[in-house]
């Protein structure tokens, strides 16, 4: 694929945008930032990824969105300019058909921030511990211990037992 044509970008948008928005909103908990992050990923696709084909675009866009969202979180911590949307905290994903997944989303929203991010990146977004560590600036051992902590807290929240 030499260049992303308008129809190819539109098709990629239709196939991947809802899931990418879900990823960005899970991490950022702020809708405007999530929308901006996904938009930047599509701009990066047409500017920097002519060699990516339609089949590989989903995984490529997902990685760009994860990195972009983490950049924004770092920026937020640096400047403390924005707070998460209360609505996003109360109902983290608007199209969730599975009530068990909605319970999980609510429980995850109450986790300590580092455990929340490690759980989201590893268990929901599918990154390996080494990738989580690189993304968050921690070593893979810390990623594992934070994941164990997150799962233990979620078990208490979802099943009422440690």
């Amino acid at each position: 694929m030499g260049e992303w044509s308008d129809p190819a970008v539109a098709e990629a948008y239709r196939r991947h945008a809802p899931r990418l928005l879900g990823t960005a909103l899970r991490l950022l908990r702020q809708r405007e930032d999530a929308e901006d992050t996904v938009q930047e990923a599509f701009i990066a696709l047409v500017r920097h990824a002519p060699a990516i084909d339609a089949e590989g675009a989903g995984a490529w866009l997902h990685r760009v969105v994860v990195n972009g969202a983490l950049d924004r979180l770092r920026s937020r911590r640096r400047w403390r300019t924005e707070e998460p949307d209360e609505a996003a905290l109360a109902a983290p994903a608007g199209t969730m058909p599975d009530p068990r997944a909605l319970d999980l989303a609510r429980a995850v929203a109450r986790l300590p921030e580092r455990a929340r991010l490690v759980f989201l990146l590893h268990d929901v977004e599918g990154l390996l511990h080494e990738e989580v560590g690189a993304a968050l600036g921690i070593d893979s051992g810390t990623s594992k211990s934070q994941l164990a902590r997150a799962r233990a807290l979620l078990r208490v929240a979802l099943e009422g037992r440690p």
Binding site: E35, D103, L158
Partner: protein, 242 residues
């Protein structure tokens, strides 16, 4: 293995460790319950991942327009390089302060919001024009809408060019004062986008309202100016002279 080692196996990326945990759980009721929870958690996480999020109305058009503009090197070049002596270049010479940007955004939002409150009392309802006057109004509306579409397309190109500049706010190499200024520009653009959306919403219900048309044009002009200021700031940061 013992029950104490289960935690390490369950958080491992190695499939062999998961298999070892499953083999242990066959002989241990407590660990079997733990394993069932882990499997249930993985299933919930997968459902959450697949659920996705419905994009807001107009978001698809915004993303596709930005992507289209980003692909055009000619458009990027025009946006990145203001003509010497232009109003843009002059604005670039006088660097705005973050405080001014913030207050200007508030003032713009308040001015437009106040104006919008009065809109419902002015302007003809759709379909009230008759005969020859109706044709003139229809022609004028078509011309206004065409001009607005061209304005919006041009702004989309500027927005695409400004994205990398705004992204520098999260770059650790950006000086704190510059990063704060970039964030102020981003907030100002968002306030203008909300204003434009409100006016467009009103025009969707009352296309012939001349006040709303004038406000939309003013909002587009304001956004163009803000984007130009931002691009000039970005050029200054590139040169290290900001």
């Amino acid at each position: 293995m013992t029950c104490d080692g289960l935690d390490l196996l369950l958080v491992s990326d190695d499939p062999g460790d998961r298999a070892a945990a499953a083999a242990h759980a066959v002989r241990c009721a407590a660990c079997a319950a733990r394993l069932r929870f882990e499997e249930s958690l993985a299933s919930r996480a997968a459902a959450w991942r697949e659920a996705g999020e419905i994009p807001a109305a107009g978001y698809e058009e915004r993303v596709l327009a930005a992507a289209r503009a980003a692909r055009s090197p000619a458009a990027r070049g025009r946006a990145d390089r203001p003509a010497a002596g232009s109003r843009f270049a002059r604005r670039a010479a006088r660097r705005p302060s973050g405080l001014r940007v913030g207050w200007a955004a508030l003032a713009a939002a308040a001015a437009f919001g106040g104006a919008m409150l009065g809109l419902s009392f002015r302007g003809p309802a759709p379909g009230t024009a008759t005969g020859g006057r109706g044709l003139i109004v229809a022609d004028a509306l078509e011309a206004a809408e065409r001009a607005e579409q061209e304005h919006a397309a041009a702004i989309a190109q500027l927005v695409a060019a400004a994205e990398p500049v705004l992204a520098r706010s999260s770059d650790p190499a950006t000086a704190p004062r510059d990063a704060a200024l970039l964030l102020a520009y981003r907030d100002r653009l968002r306030a203008l986008d909300r204003t434009i959306g409100e006016i467009q919403g009103h025009l969707a219900r009352n296309a012939g309202n001349p006040t709303a048309r004038a406000l939309l044009l003013a909002a587009y002009t304001e956004k163009t100016d803000v984007l130009r200021e931002l691009l000039a700031l970005g050029a200054g940061l590139e040169r290290g002279t900001s």
